[in-house]
Symmetry: C2
Subunit: 220 residues, 2 copies
């Protein structure tokens, strides 16, 4: 597994001790998140939209309606920036200035390619479904031709990316530590799954299936 490429825009100049250059760190952030923020340039101005995604090897998949102008823009080869951020805590320092957040984030630069080959598209949509809802591809009804035609699948190579991780306690000035005039520490934050809520219009006697129960018992 090669390290992440170092380009002008993926080289951290500030707080560079937070940089991670192992590809495994990139994969870990992407695999832990569910929502990415997809940035593109529309009429010269930035547009940032939240959307689902999934990773398969060194490919990031995005999808959406073929009717969405943003997806069409990206599918036509426009530059894209995809960012995934996981918030792990608020860092309380002795000084306001040194307050911070603990987080893991990945910023990916690239160009999306629309995936149109039927077998490749089916595969990509399966990867997306299984990332969003593991077990659903086999449990739920798979896409019809009409549904496939309505769905655009985009692939972005994970070639140019940067990963930042901040963890641990505050980094106060020595004189603030000595002064002992304020509390310092971390208030962790995490995402957790709640209990499954069956749909109001569920027909018949349906137990919550194992793949949903399993996830509800896992860390989110």
């Amino acid at each position: 597994m090669t390290d992440l490429s170092s380009t002008e825009r993926t080289t951290l100049r500030r707080a560079s001790e937070r940089a991670r250059t192992d590809r495994a760190d990139l994969y870990a952030v992407l695999d832990a998140g569910l929502v990415c923020h997809m940035g593109m340039v529309v009429d010269g101005a930035p547009v940032v939209l939240p959307t689902g995604y999934a990773r398969d090897g060194n490919t990031l998949y995005l999808h959406g309606s073929t009717g969405a102008a943003t997806l069409r823009t990206l599918g036509a080869g426009a530059a894209v920036c995809v960012t995934v951020t996981l918030l792990d805590g608020v860092v309380y320092a002795r000084s306001v200035f040194d307050h911070s957040m603990n987080y893991r984030s990945a910023v990916i630069f690239g160009h999306a390619q629309e995936v149109t080959d039927p077998v490749a598209k089916q595969h990509g949509l399966r990867v997306l479904t299984e990332h969003l809802a593991p077990g659903s591809w086999d449990h739920a009804r798979q896409p019809t031709k009409k549904e496939l035609a309505k769905t655009a699948l985009l692939a972005v190579d994970l070639t140019e990316a940067s990963v930042k991780v901040r963890s641990g306690g505050p980094k106060d000035e020595p004189e603030d530590v000595e002064a002992a005039a304020a509390w310092a520490g971390v208030l962790p934050i995490q995402q957790v799954w709640g209990q499954p809520v069956p749909s109001d219009d569920l027909r018949g006697e349906f137990d919550v299936p194992p793949h949903v129960l399993k996830r509800a018992g896992e860390p989110a």
Copy 2:
């Protein structure tokens, strides 16, 4: 309170039932989040970075090091897009195609203005601190002149924005509901605070202060 302005890029064309046009809905999303994704155009390409933010009335504040190139670009008047997303659940439908997510999101378009007036800057930094860590402005040491000089504060008017909210169960096709061949429902997800972790280098006998304990007991 005026409704959100309707411009070409803030008018939802798809899933328009998810659109919210009350300014109060925008404020609610912004006040509930801690991290935004800030998009800008650098050398013609999109760049999306996570950062803290806070709202005060109709102003969104961002801040960062005066040494950060991105902050300098924005402070010089470049267009910015700021997006805040709160994930509320994964929606399991009877069909893979109708799987979805429950979420609240706000997308703000504008231009940042650097705030340099000392009184206004102090106010903005206080708003940012109190959003990140309520109670910290009075508890922790306030910024020195040197720290203020190292910090750039940016303000974005909340004029052009769109808000989207998806909630509730899956919207399956009637024939999938009747077929009753798959479970359908929502697996909720939420952010929760953990217990405070005091800093390793805490001097003296410090109890966790009330403002931190209070927050640890609240919904995140």
